[in-house]
Symmetry: C2
Subunit: 432 residues, 2 copies
């Protein structure tokens, strides 16, 4: 853990019986961490406690004067929701109704045609010294204020509600001087690079810019690299210099320099060029189409595809010759490329991506072990393919295949319809 004597200590408390019974994992603490990361603060402790006053009080007592404390959960309107009252009691900050909050809640229920619930009474109560922050998604406002020396932030436990409140809460904490301005952070979102390979690739730069804060995050699409300058030891010049070098060394492993998903990048490139895409999936059975359409607007470029899980379907729907399947096999360059070109013609799109592989645990052979997967991309002028050897179990192999397929389309869009989207040193790829 990086030393940061100047950092404000942050403690997070997640309240909820369901978090201690195995029903629900606490994901809110991670959301909070991500919202405040890069602001010069250290999360020192996360506690997960039941919906019981004594447990919540004990957790509060484990915080210290000067801490920034986030408490999630227990702001709802059921009898189990106690956080507001417990905090008011612990801080000896009496609850009083906030008329503005009350009015908002009544407005909200009116709009939805609901009668004002008795929960509204409790949800419009605010401990003295705290300010409410309007909840854009649900009803309970967040509450922020300095009580007993801690800067307390009370948030609802429902993840979408908490997520919707983090931005305004962080702004309020800035205004109150309780959270430093974020240090400049740079982001590189990479795909198709195994974490270990990426670490090796960046080792030299990391050593020469060791005064910068480096962090790695695994994502659905690959690995994110974040770089921040710790204001006490590095200037913006270092960050800019490191950025130049990292851009060069990472090259096209990078699908984005900002917080957008890989499908969003593909969608943007497709829509900008008014191009269309279809998929021919064997082992992934639809997972690629499903992820390509995560975001609204995907109907602007994605038309559909063929799920050719059984070899018969490869023949009947994609025109793969029986002889090819017999001689080369379903998992081969020839079949994958024929699937891609067949799909492109059949569905009638500018591009098509096809996958055919052995996810496991069965089906592997000496020549084609589990994890062997062909990805092919057909463009208006060519068809390219590459063999991967994914190293994992069925579930992970399929997810890696989805990421590889979508990223290969991205690379073709960026590199040109006539250029192979693969290079000799791509992770998991066998030499062409």
């Amino acid at each position: 853990m990086p030393d940061n004597a100047a950092g404000i200590p942050v403690k997070i408390i997640a309240v909820g019986d369901e978090l201690l019974e195995g029903r629900t994992a606490d994901t809110n603490s991670q959301r909070i961490q991500r919202a405040i990361g890069g602001h010069g603060v250290q999360v020192a402790l996360i506690q997960v406690v039941p919906d019981r006053p004594s447990d919540i009080v004990r957790a509060l007592d484990r915080t210290e004067d000067g801490d920034l404390v986030f408490v999630s959960g227990g702001l709802g309107s059921t009898p189990d929701d106690l956080t507001r009252e417990v905090v008011a009691d612990w801080a000896q900050a009496p609850l009083a109704e906030d008329p503005a909050v009350r009015a908002q809640l009544e407005q909200r229920w009116k709009k939805r045609g609901l009668k004002t619930s008795s929960g509204a009474d409790r949800q419009s109560q605010v401990p003295r010294g705290m300010k409410p922050v309007t909840n854009p998604v649900g009803s309970a406002p967040a509450l922020v204020g300095r009580l007993r020396g801690r800067m307390l932030v009370l948030l609802p436990g429902v993840p979408q509600e908490l997520e919707g409140l983090l931005k305004p809460v962080v702004l309020m904490l800035h205004d109150m001087g309780a959270l430093p301005q974020p240090s400049p952070t740079l982001l590189w979102r990479t795909a198709q690079a195994a974490e270990l390979n990426l670490v090796k690739t960046c080792a030299d730069i990391r050593a020469r810019y060791s005064n910068l804060d480096w962090s790695w995050w695994l994502t659905d699409w690959g690995v994110d690299i974040r770089l921040a300058s710790r204001s006490t030891t590095a200037g913006p010049g270092d960050l800019a210099a490191a950025e130049k070098e990292l851009d060069l060394v990472l090259g096209r492993l990078v699908y984005s320099r900002r917080m957008e998903s890989l499908p969003q990048v593909v969608q943007r490139l497709m829509l900008d060029r008014r191009r269309t895409l279809s998929v021919a999936e064997s082992c992934t059975a639809g997972l690629i189409g499903g992820r390509l359409t995560d975001q609204p607007g995907s109907s602007g470029f994605f038309r559909g595809g063929i799920l050719a899980y059984a070899d018969e379907i490869k023949k009947e729907q994609l025109g793969i010759p029986a002889a090819m399947l017999r001689e080369k096999g379903a998992v081969s360059r020839e079949t994958a490329e024929a699937m891609a070109t067949g799909c492109r013609g059949k569905i009638g799109t500018d591009y098509a991506v096809a996958v055919s592989g052995i996810s496991g645990p069965d089906g592997g052979t000496q020549a084609k072990p589990v994890g062997t997967t062909w990805v092919a991309v057909a463009t208006p002028v060519a068809v390219f393919s590459r063999q991967y050897r994914f190293p994992a179990d069925r579930q992970r192999n399929r997810l890696l295949t989805v990421a590889a397929a979508i990223d290969s389309v991205r690379r073709v869009l960026e590199g040109g319809d006539d250029k192979s989207p693969w290079a000799a040193d791509d992770s998991w790829c066998l030499p062409s």
Copy 2:
């Protein structure tokens, strides 16, 4: 939280810098909870702390004599992995090399053609008073033993490794008398029932069997209900009586009475009957095919399908007449049923399921608001369909659609090819 004076208090400590930087959410604590749930224990506190000796010690000091304490993380071989040493120091239980562990580790590295790493020295060290439990997935053994009045369990932080160790660790804790035998627990896995509706449906039984432990878990497929008898206040007779009543009241909402997924149930039914299935997906764009093939063996029943995301594809690949699309629209009974029968014939399977809907956020109208979705199932003798009104955002609407589609197939397989899989009171369904 249910009162359980007889319960052994459990505290969980998750160690790892990455858990406090937003990089990784702590999922290990939930795994541990699930492994020990139903054993008559209460998880009283979860703490997430950095890889720093002082923080780990503080977390241990927050446990008490008599506690069962699980510590995950920090057993690896990097310099950040300190748990073993810190615990030995805190407990004043000197580390000594365990020759059996040493031999196992060397064997493991030999098999993989790796040189024994220096990490092996540390990983074969065991604090006095603790026993090692062989790690079936990774290298570091789990360590179990009573130190300073706590029953301590040290586990690796890598989720797959922790998962592989939980079963043997729980068995060892039983043998040591540190964990009671699991109380009998019964499970009902339901789909297509909104949580609130389910709670209402079970309210009467719950009231009359309030001495049993009731818990609800949201899953990818719907809602699980678990029922356990707390050995101190209820006998097995109560559990059996409650089971009879719950079976009756839940009826076909239940897709399983044991820990198998909905796709696994469909696969079992399909393979038993030697039937085949295909999918015609519009709004879900492949998510259904992707989930149906989660488990190995799915090629035994799943053949493939058509992703008809664009209306043109519905026409060209599924034979939907242009007039139907024009007059009824893509999201209609007629189109969904035609998609299902068209797919069944085209792919050549016994059954086909089709979905066509408006996931959102755009595309809704007064007559067909966001969330309006038709699901149709074609069987050898009939085609059935139902309109849903899913209440959520794009992502959740699509996931609800996937669950509804797969569960509708399950219901047809169980109910008969000539009977509609829907009833008047299904959640989210409009009356037929």
